[in-house]
Symmetry: C2
Subunit: 160 residues, 2 copies
Protein backbone atom coordinates (compact mmCIF):
# COMPACT_ATOMS: atom_id res chain seq x y z
CA UNK A 1 0.00 0.00 0.00
CA UNK A 2 2.81 2.39 0.92
CA UNK A 3 4.45 1.87 -2.46
CA UNK A 4 1.22 2.41 -4.31
CA UNK A 5 0.57 5.62 -2.38
CA UNK A 6 3.92 6.95 -3.52
CA UNK A 7 3.45 5.87 -7.14
CA UNK A 8 0.08 7.57 -7.30
CA UNK A 9 1.55 10.64 -5.64
CA UNK A 10 4.39 10.70 -8.21
CA UNK A 11 1.99 10.33 -11.12
CA UNK A 12 -0.21 13.08 -9.74
CA UNK A 13 2.76 15.37 -9.23
CA UNK A 14 4.05 14.93 -12.79
CA UNK A 15 0.67 15.98 -14.09
CA UNK A 16 -0.21 18.74 -11.68
CA UNK A 17 3.08 19.97 -10.23
CA UNK A 18 5.62 20.27 -13.03
CA UNK A 19 7.49 22.87 -10.93
CA UNK A 20 8.61 20.03 -8.66
CA UNK A 21 10.93 18.79 -11.36
CA UNK A 22 12.53 22.05 -12.38
CA UNK A 23 14.72 24.56 -10.61
CA UNK A 24 13.31 28.00 -9.85
CA UNK A 25 15.22 31.21 -10.49
CA UNK A 26 15.97 32.89 -7.22
CA UNK A 27 15.09 36.54 -6.59
CA UNK A 28 17.77 39.12 -7.33
CA UNK A 29 17.60 42.84 -7.97
CA UNK A 30 20.26 45.14 -9.36
CA UNK A 31 21.37 48.01 -7.15
CA UNK A 32 24.28 50.39 -6.75
CA UNK A 33 26.42 50.57 -3.64
CA UNK A 34 28.80 53.52 -3.71
CA UNK A 35 28.39 53.66 -7.50
CA UNK A 36 29.28 50.00 -7.91
CA UNK A 37 26.66 47.72 -9.41
CA UNK A 38 25.79 44.84 -7.11
CA UNK A 39 23.26 42.08 -7.56
CA UNK A 40 21.27 41.76 -4.33
CA UNK A 41 19.63 38.52 -3.27
CA UNK A 42 16.13 39.16 -1.87
CA UNK A 43 15.79 36.88 1.15
CA UNK A 44 12.88 37.16 3.60
CA UNK A 45 14.42 34.22 5.46
CA UNK A 46 17.57 36.16 6.41
CA UNK A 47 17.19 38.13 9.62
CA UNK A 48 20.06 40.47 8.84
CA UNK A 49 21.30 41.92 5.56
CA UNK A 50 24.74 40.65 4.68
CA UNK A 51 27.58 41.59 2.38
CA UNK A 52 30.63 39.49 1.60
CA UNK A 53 33.98 41.10 2.41
CA UNK A 54 34.94 40.84 -1.29
CA UNK A 55 31.85 42.79 -2.29
CA UNK A 56 32.41 45.43 0.42
CA UNK A 57 35.98 45.86 -0.83
CA UNK A 58 34.79 46.09 -4.44
CA UNK A 59 32.38 48.85 -3.40
CA UNK A 60 35.16 50.58 -1.38
CA UNK A 61 33.09 50.76 1.78
CA UNK A 62 35.35 48.79 4.15
CA UNK A 63 36.37 52.08 5.82
CA UNK A 64 32.82 52.18 7.26
CA UNK A 65 33.17 48.78 8.93
CA UNK A 66 32.41 48.80 12.65
CA UNK A 67 34.41 45.92 14.12
CA UNK A 68 32.84 46.26 17.55
CA UNK A 69 29.85 44.46 16.07
CA UNK A 70 31.78 41.36 15.05
CA UNK A 71 30.52 37.88 15.92
CA UNK A 72 29.28 34.75 14.24
CA UNK A 73 26.49 33.98 11.83
CA UNK A 74 24.79 30.64 12.25
CA UNK A 75 23.08 28.71 9.47
CA UNK A 76 23.47 24.99 8.89
CA UNK A 77 27.12 25.80 9.75
CA UNK A 78 28.79 29.04 10.83
CA UNK A 79 30.55 31.98 9.20
CA UNK A 80 32.50 34.81 10.78
CA UNK A 81 31.02 38.30 10.91
CA UNK A 82 33.84 40.81 10.53
CA UNK A 83 31.63 43.66 11.66
CA UNK A 84 28.79 45.84 10.57
CA UNK A 85 28.44 48.78 8.24
CA UNK A 86 25.74 50.77 9.97
CA UNK A 87 24.70 53.00 7.13
CA UNK A 88 25.61 52.92 3.48
CA UNK A 89 23.71 54.54 0.63
CA UNK A 90 22.21 52.01 -1.76
CA UNK A 91 20.54 53.07 -4.98
CA UNK A 92 17.60 50.84 -5.85
CA UNK A 93 15.53 51.84 -8.85
CA UNK A 94 15.34 55.61 -8.83
CA UNK A 95 15.67 56.02 -5.06
CA UNK A 96 18.62 56.02 -2.68
CA UNK A 97 18.21 54.34 0.69
CA UNK A 98 20.50 54.26 3.69
CA UNK A 99 20.91 50.62 4.68
CA UNK A 100 22.90 48.63 7.24
CA UNK A 101 24.76 45.41 6.43
CA UNK A 102 26.85 42.88 8.31
CA UNK A 103 30.09 41.95 6.57
CA UNK A 104 30.94 38.24 6.41
CA UNK A 105 34.40 36.83 5.78
CA UNK A 106 32.95 34.14 3.58
CA UNK A 107 29.68 34.21 1.75
CA UNK A 108 28.61 32.65 -1.53
CA UNK A 109 26.46 35.70 -2.16
CA UNK A 110 27.74 39.26 -2.63
CA UNK A 111 24.83 41.00 -0.97
CA UNK A 112 21.77 39.60 0.78
CA UNK A 113 18.90 42.00 1.25
CA UNK A 114 17.46 40.49 4.42
CA UNK A 115 14.23 40.95 6.30
CA UNK A 116 15.59 43.81 8.43
CA UNK A 117 16.15 46.03 5.42
CA UNK A 118 13.10 44.76 3.50
CA UNK A 119 10.95 45.83 6.48
CA UNK A 120 12.71 49.17 6.67
CA UNK A 121 12.07 49.72 2.95
CA UNK A 122 8.40 48.77 3.34
CA UNK A 123 8.99 46.15 0.67
CA UNK A 124 6.36 44.14 -1.16
CA UNK A 125 7.79 41.01 -2.79
CA UNK A 126 5.33 40.41 -5.61
CA UNK A 127 5.71 36.99 -7.22
CA UNK A 128 2.70 37.52 -9.48
CA UNK A 129 4.18 40.54 -11.23
CA UNK A 130 7.72 39.31 -10.47
CA UNK A 131 8.78 42.65 -9.04
CA UNK A 132 9.93 44.17 -5.79
CA UNK A 133 7.98 47.24 -4.69
CA UNK A 134 9.60 49.61 -2.21
CA UNK A 135 8.56 52.98 -0.85
CA UNK A 136 8.29 55.38 -3.77
CA UNK A 137 8.76 52.87 -6.59
CA UNK A 138 5.34 52.71 -8.22
CA UNK A 139 6.58 50.69 -11.17
CA UNK A 140 8.46 48.21 -9.04
CA UNK A 141 11.94 46.80 -9.50
CA UNK A 142 12.04 43.77 -11.80
CA UNK A 143 13.77 40.65 -10.51
CA UNK A 144 16.82 39.64 -12.53
CA UNK A 145 18.60 36.33 -12.86
CA UNK A 146 21.46 35.88 -10.45
CA UNK A 147 24.16 33.29 -10.40
CA UNK A 148 23.15 30.09 -8.75
CA UNK A 149 23.47 30.18 -4.99
CA UNK A 150 23.51 26.97 -3.00
CA UNK A 151 21.05 27.28 -0.15
CA UNK A 152 19.47 25.17 2.54
CA UNK A 153 16.61 24.69 0.15
CA UNK A 154 18.54 23.60 -2.90
CA UNK A 155 19.11 19.96 -3.55
CA UNK A 156 22.47 18.82 -4.79
CA UNK A 157 22.84 15.29 -6.06
CA UNK A 158 19.89 12.98 -5.55
CA UNK A 159 19.49 9.45 -6.76
CA UNK A 160 16.64 9.95 -9.24
CA UNK B 1 40.22 59.44 9.73
CA UNK B 2 39.03 55.81 9.53
CA UNK B 3 38.05 55.87 13.21
CA UNK B 4 36.20 59.13 12.86
CA UNK B 5 34.31 57.79 9.84
CA UNK B 6 33.10 54.87 11.90
CA UNK B 7 32.16 57.01 14.91
CA UNK B 8 30.12 59.33 12.75
CA UNK B 9 28.54 56.36 11.04
CA UNK B 10 27.62 54.86 14.43
CA UNK B 11 26.15 58.13 15.67
CA UNK B 12 24.16 58.52 12.47
CA UNK B 13 22.90 54.97 12.70
CA UNK B 14 21.68 55.34 16.30
CA UNK B 15 19.64 58.34 15.24
CA UNK B 16 18.35 57.19 11.88
CA UNK B 17 18.50 53.38 11.93
CA UNK B 18 17.21 52.14 15.28
CA UNK B 19 16.32 48.83 13.60
CA UNK B 20 20.05 48.04 13.44
CA UNK B 21 20.08 47.51 17.18
CA UNK B 22 17.00 45.34 17.54
CA UNK B 23 16.05 41.91 16.31
CA UNK B 24 13.27 41.61 13.73
CA UNK B 25 10.47 39.06 13.98
CA UNK B 26 10.77 36.60 11.15
CA UNK B 27 7.81 35.81 8.89
CA UNK B 28 5.63 32.87 9.83
CA UNK B 29 2.11 31.92 8.88
CA UNK B 30 -0.17 29.33 10.42
CA UNK B 31 -1.38 26.55 8.17
CA UNK B 32 -2.79 23.06 8.44
CA UNK B 33 -1.11 19.99 6.98
CA UNK B 34 -3.34 16.92 7.12
CA UNK B 35 -5.40 18.64 9.87
CA UNK B 36 -2.32 19.33 11.97
CA UNK B 37 -1.48 22.95 12.70
CA UNK B 38 2.00 23.87 11.51
CA UNK B 39 3.78 27.21 11.64
CA UNK B 40 5.36 27.81 8.23
CA UNK B 41 8.44 29.98 7.77
CA UNK B 42 8.07 32.22 4.71
CA UNK B 43 11.48 32.21 3.00
CA UNK B 44 12.03 33.69 -0.47
CA UNK B 45 15.70 32.72 -0.06
CA UNK B 46 14.95 28.99 0.03
CA UNK B 47 14.80 27.41 -3.40
CA UNK B 48 12.82 24.41 -2.23
CA UNK B 49 10.13 24.06 0.41
CA UNK B 50 11.27 21.89 3.28
CA UNK B 51 9.74 19.98 6.15
CA UNK B 52 11.56 18.40 9.06
CA UNK B 53 11.08 14.66 9.48
CA UNK B 54 9.62 15.31 12.96
CA UNK B 55 7.03 17.62 11.49
CA UNK B 56 6.17 15.20 8.67
CA UNK B 57 5.69 12.46 11.27
CA UNK B 58 3.53 14.73 13.43
CA UNK B 59 1.34 15.42 10.38
CA UNK B 60 1.24 11.66 9.55
CA UNK B 61 2.36 12.20 5.96
CA UNK B 62 5.54 10.08 5.96
CA UNK B 63 3.68 7.42 3.95
CA UNK B 64 3.81 9.87 1.00
CA UNK B 65 7.61 10.18 1.12
CA UNK B 66 9.33 9.45 -2.19
CA UNK B 67 12.80 8.20 -1.29
CA UNK B 68 13.98 8.16 -4.88
CA UNK B 69 14.37 11.91 -4.54
CA UNK B 70 16.79 11.76 -1.63
CA UNK B 71 20.01 13.76 -1.64
CA UNK B 72 21.67 16.55 0.24
CA UNK B 73 20.74 20.12 1.04
CA UNK B 74 23.56 22.61 1.10
CA UNK B 75 23.61 25.80 3.14
CA UNK B 76 26.55 27.01 5.18
CA UNK B 77 26.81 23.28 5.98
CA UNK B 78 24.81 20.28 4.78
CA UNK B 79 21.75 18.33 5.84
CA UNK B 80 20.40 15.06 4.51
CA UNK B 81 17.25 15.03 2.38
CA UNK B 82 15.32 11.87 3.14
CA UNK B 83 13.11 12.33 0.11
CA UNK B 84 10.32 14.38 -1.25
CA UNK B 85 6.58 14.49 -0.68
CA UNK B 86 5.35 15.46 -4.11
CA UNK B 87 1.89 16.59 -3.23
CA UNK B 88 0.28 17.20 0.12
CA UNK B 89 -2.79 19.31 0.82
CA UNK B 90 -2.01 22.39 2.90
CA UNK B 91 -4.77 24.62 4.21
CA UNK B 92 -3.70 28.27 4.25
CA UNK B 93 -6.35 30.79 5.22
CA UNK B 94 -9.61 29.59 3.69
CA UNK B 95 -8.02 27.78 0.75
CA UNK B 96 -6.44 24.36 0.35
CA UNK B 97 -3.37 24.07 -1.89
CA UNK B 98 -1.49 21.01 -3.07
CA UNK B 99 2.18 21.60 -2.30
CA UNK B 100 5.44 19.65 -2.59
CA UNK B 101 8.05 19.51 0.17
CA UNK B 102 11.44 17.93 0.66
CA UNK B 103 11.85 16.14 3.97
CA UNK B 104 15.07 16.79 5.89
CA UNK B 105 16.46 14.55 8.61
CA UNK B 106 17.45 17.58 10.63
CA UNK B 107 16.03 21.03 10.44
CA UNK B 108 15.57 23.71 13.07
CA UNK B 109 12.37 24.72 11.36
CA UNK B 110 9.25 22.54 11.05
CA UNK B 111 8.20 23.79 7.66
CA UNK B 112 9.82 26.25 5.27
CA UNK B 113 7.58 27.68 2.58
CA UNK B 114 10.24 28.26 -0.06
CA UNK B 115 10.31 30.18 -3.31
CA UNK B 116 9.12 27.19 -5.39
CA UNK B 117 5.79 27.05 -3.56
CA UNK B 118 5.50 30.82 -3.10
CA UNK B 119 5.76 31.17 -6.89
CA UNK B 120 3.23 28.41 -7.41
CA UNK B 121 0.83 30.13 -5.01
CA UNK B 122 1.33 33.48 -6.78
CA UNK B 123 2.32 34.90 -3.42
CA UNK B 124 2.76 38.55 -2.54
CA UNK B 125 4.83 39.05 0.61
CA UNK B 126 3.60 42.42 1.82
CA UNK B 127 5.79 43.92 4.54
CA UNK B 128 3.78 47.14 4.64
CA UNK B 129 0.56 45.45 5.62
CA UNK B 130 2.48 42.57 7.23
CA UNK B 131 0.48 39.95 5.40
CA UNK B 132 0.95 37.19 2.85
CA UNK B 133 -1.41 37.35 -0.12
CA UNK B 134 -1.99 34.20 -2.15
CA UNK B 135 -4.38 33.38 -4.97
CA UNK B 136 -7.92 33.81 -3.69
CA UNK B 137 -7.07 35.36 -0.32
CA UNK B 138 -8.23 38.96 -0.67
CA UNK B 139 -7.77 39.72 3.01
CA UNK B 140 -4.32 38.22 3.18
CA UNK B 141 -2.85 35.89 5.79
CA UNK B 142 -1.36 37.77 8.77
CA UNK B 143 2.17 36.92 9.78
CA UNK B 144 2.47 35.42 13.26
CA UNK B 145 5.41 35.20 15.61
CA UNK B 146 7.41 32.01 15.31
CA UNK B 147 10.03 30.61 17.56
CA UNK B 148 13.47 31.99 16.97
CA UNK B 149 15.27 30.31 14.11
CA UNK B 150 19.01 30.64 13.78
CA UNK B 151 19.85 31.62 10.21
CA UNK B 152 22.78 32.75 8.13
CA UNK B 153 21.55 36.24 8.78
CA UNK B 154 21.24 36.10 12.55
CA UNK B 155 24.12 37.17 14.69
CA UNK B 156 24.98 35.13 17.74
CA UNK B 157 27.36 36.59 20.26
CA UNK B 158 29.19 39.76 19.29
CA UNK B 159 31.60 41.77 21.33
CA UNK B 160 29.55 44.97 21.70
Amino acid sequence: IRRRNIEENLQYAYEHHPETFTRVDMLYIDCFVNKTRVRAFVDTGAQTSIMSVECARKCSIMRLLNKRMAGFAVGVGTARVLGRILAVDVKIGSGVYSLGVSVLDQSQTDFILGLDMLLKLGAVVDLRRHRLFIQGEVEGIPFVKGEFMADVGSLIGGKE
